[in-house]
């Protein structure tokens, strides 16, 4: 009787063990592959945002904005990105994904600030240009008017001087 009950139990145990062993073989590999893929995607995403940030920062800089603060924060993002790539290279995919995600978050913040700075710098540049142009136009007008008036005054003075001259009588001793 005992033997009859023991055999099915033994079979169930064997099947369960086999299934467990199979799961152990398959799931860690699957998790490994997923992690590597996720880490690569996270790094790609982080790289994209850092490049995009850099472009916005360059635009803000060319518009005349002070980007030193943004560059310092972009450097932090760059350090995280390099860490992520190094971690990926030594197959520390969790570390790589973590660093890449942090880099992405920093990048998002920096990009937002950079866009604000770019807008501000462009507005300031436009205003500066406008004032400079008004100044130039006013300056050129004043110079031209002053030159014209000076010329007229000088011409009047010149004619008066010429007309005021008396011809000298020279005695000829021929």
């Amino acid at each position: 009787m005992n033997r009859v009950m023991f055999l099915p139990a033994c079979r169930s145990f064997l099947i369960f063990s086999l299934l467990f062993a199979l799961a152990l073989c398959v799931f860690p590999l699957e998790a490994y592959a997923t992690n590597a893929e996720e880490a690569a995607l996270a790094i790609e995403r982080a790289e994209a945002i850092v490049f995009s940030c850099y472009q916005v920062v360059l635009e803000a800089e060319s518009a005349g904005g002070d980007v030193s603060g943004l560059l310092a924060r972009l450097n932090d993002a760059g350090v995280l990105l390099a860490q992520a790539r190094v971690s990926y290279g030594i197959e520390d995919f969790d570390g790589a994904a973590r660093s890449a995600d942090l880099c992405y978050e920093t990048g998002v913040e920096v990009r937002l600030e950079a866009r604000g700075l770019r807008r501000l710098a462009m507005e300031e540049a436009n205003q500066r240009f406008r004032w400079m142009m008004i100044g130039s136009i006013v300056g050129v007008t004043i110079i031209l008017c002053a030159s014209f008036v000076s010329w007229l005054t000088f011409k009047r003075y010149y004619y008066r001087r010429i007309l005021g001259m008396k011809p000298e009588v020279v005695s000829s001793e021929s």
Partner: protein
């Protein structure tokens, strides 16, 4: 002087003053070519941040420090990438004439955003962790750079002229190009020779 000559003087003076008054606006509207050469600097310094006392005779498990720096004179902010590479005496070095980097894989990398006219420097602490040696060959298996262990697997043969197993730790400078949206080799590289004989 007659009146015609006076008029010429007046016209020239007026035009000169007009140009001076319009110069600030003209400088924005008319694109003037930038003067000066655009370039980047790359350097490696010893542990005291001086160009001396570079690590040379290295031992296993001992830490050595150098500083790698980049100077930006490109006229605007730049995004730099420094690749750290390790080679023996026969492996290829970057080619300055053809502006090609070394085909060797990078051990690790450093990135920096540098404003125009500003320098950027980073410390690099490295140690050689595992070396196998046969009669006239030496194999460096692993290296640690800034607390991260990297597989190197680089072998070197005995240099009978200089009596040693020589390796070079070198740094390549790459610059991000906005047009191509990728890093391009910037034709700047610098390195230090290491003798692992005494390890």
């Amino acid at each position: 002087m007659n009146l015609e000559e006076y008029r010429t003087i007046f016209v020239v003076t007026s035009l000169t003053l007009t140009l001076v008054a319009a110069a600030p606006t003209l400088s924005i509207v008319v694109p003037f070519p930038r003067s000066g050469e655009r370039f980047s600097e790359l350097w490696v310094l010893g542990p005291n941040r001086m160009a001396e006392n570079y690590p040379f005779n290295v031992r296993v498990d001992e830490e050595y420090q150098v500083f790698v720096g980049v100077g930006n004179h490109m006229g605007s902010s730049a995004y730099y990438l420094v690749y750290v590479k390790f080679r023996n005496q026969t492996q290829p070095f970057p080619d300055a004439q053809n502006s090609t980097p070394s085909p060797l894989p990078a051990i690790c990398e450093f990135r920096g955003f540098v404003a125009d006219g500003v320098t950027w420097e980073t410390p690099i602490v490295f140690s050689i962790l595992e070396v196998s040696r046969l009669e006239d060959s030496c194999l460096v298996r692993r290296m640690m750079i800034n607390d991260v262990v990297f597989l190197v697997d680089s072998s070197s043969t005995w240099d009978s002229e200089n009596n040693g197993f020589y390796y070079q730790l070198f740094f390549e400078l790459w610059l991000y190009d906005v047009t191509s949206q990728s890093f391009q080799f910037h034709n700047r590289f610098v390195g230090i020779w290491l003798n692992v004989t005494s390890s």
